[in-house]
Symmetry: C2
Subunit: 220 residues, 2 copies
């Protein structure tokens, strides 16, 4: 089944929304995610339903079919493998890789993505710590938790971020925080749920509740 870039983007959006909300995706949510008018989404949903990619019933949300889910997973695989290539081989920073990978992910060649995977030594995680599905679509799981769930005194290492926006990643750069950075939780401030952390044994930094929720860590 041939899919256009746009159709693929809708499938990816539905996948990510469903993953987050753990259920079906609504027209409005998709519209916001993609950045189009809800009416355009309705049109596209009909088309994707016709291609057996989604389960669509008027006024209910949509879910991916088995093949729709497979397409979405492969798209995520391609996206994240290209991100690894851009960061590890071409030395792009982690905030620059997303936009370019958005284009590269649509290159249609099974052979290409599998050779790229091998060339990169079958990476399991991308530069933001997101898991890369293998050729069979299987994701690697690992123990990780939101920083919000850590307690004062805990020493943790950063495994991933739930937000890929450039400005946010640049903010982390300024704080000297990147994947693999280790830090200690000095204090939890109950009134605004912010945290004081110690990076590199010398800089004490305040992280807002929002940032704590975005950071994915593991206790060490």
């Amino acid at each position: 089944m041939h899919l256009s870039n746009t159709e693929e983007n809708y499938l990816k959006a539905i996948y990510k929304i469903a993953e987050r909300k753990n259920k079906s995706a609504s027209t409005n949510t998709i519209a916001k995610y993609i950045g189009t008018a809800p009416a355009s989404v309705t049109d596209m949903l009909k088309r994707l339903a016709g291609k057996q990619m989604i389960n669509y019933e008027r006024y209910k949300g949509v879910t991916l079919t088995t093949i729709g889910g497979r397409e979405a997973t492969q798209l995520i695989r391609r996206h994240r493998l290209w991100e690894v290539f851009l960061a590890s081989r071409l030395r792009f920073s982690w905030e620059a890789v997303h936009d370019i990978a958005e284009e590269l992910e649509h290159i249609k060649s099974e052979e290409l993505v599998n050779r790229l995977d091998a060339y990169l030594d079958y990476p399991k995680f991308d530069p933001h710590g997101d898991p890369i599905p293998n050729a069979q679509g299987k994701f690697t799981l690992r123990n990780q938790m939101s920083l919000s769930a850590a307690l004062p005194g805990n020493k943790v290492v950063l495994l991933g971020v739930r937000e890929h926006e450039t400005s946010f990643l640049e903010y982390l750069n300024e704080l000297n925080i990147g994947l693999g950075t280790e830090f200690t939780i000095k204090a939890f401030n109950n009134f605004d749920k912010s945290m004081n952390i110690l990076v590199d044994h010398n800089k004490e930094t305040l992280l807002s509740e929002k940032v704590c929720q975005i950071l994915l860590v593991k206790k060490i």
Copy 2:
């Protein structure tokens, strides 16, 4: 100036046609090259003229403007750099790289192509021996001639091919001929302009006139 993939492909076609014929490109020629109806070409030519990419006058052919030529050259640069990446890093065969590079060449990021160039060590020629323009659009020239122009007794090395079609390249593979292959011209057959050549000091092979014209060699 933003160009769609389609517009870029038209510019590339005009560039290649003009390069070959050494003059302006006609509507019909472009239509044949792109694989569309002449009427579609006319529409597109008007649009490209509006974007100052070509010089267009009804019923005359078209030529690229300075900026149109620069766009075409950059597209060729991207195409050939990706071909090098696919062949040298991902180990694709020389007949497989063209189609994938046709997609990759449209990824829009100046930074990407320049980093790729550096990563590949600023290659000067692609896997078919075609020159790769540098960031300033300058092509590397070298001494080469069509095999047709070589004489019996000459020993030559293959530098490039003027035809990228898969079936032709696979034919050369079967003959154990690739870039860098050295061979000696044993005989020139005047009646059909074919040549007998000796590859690897053991296989004597007959090459048709057409093939001789396509192969680009240098005397050694």
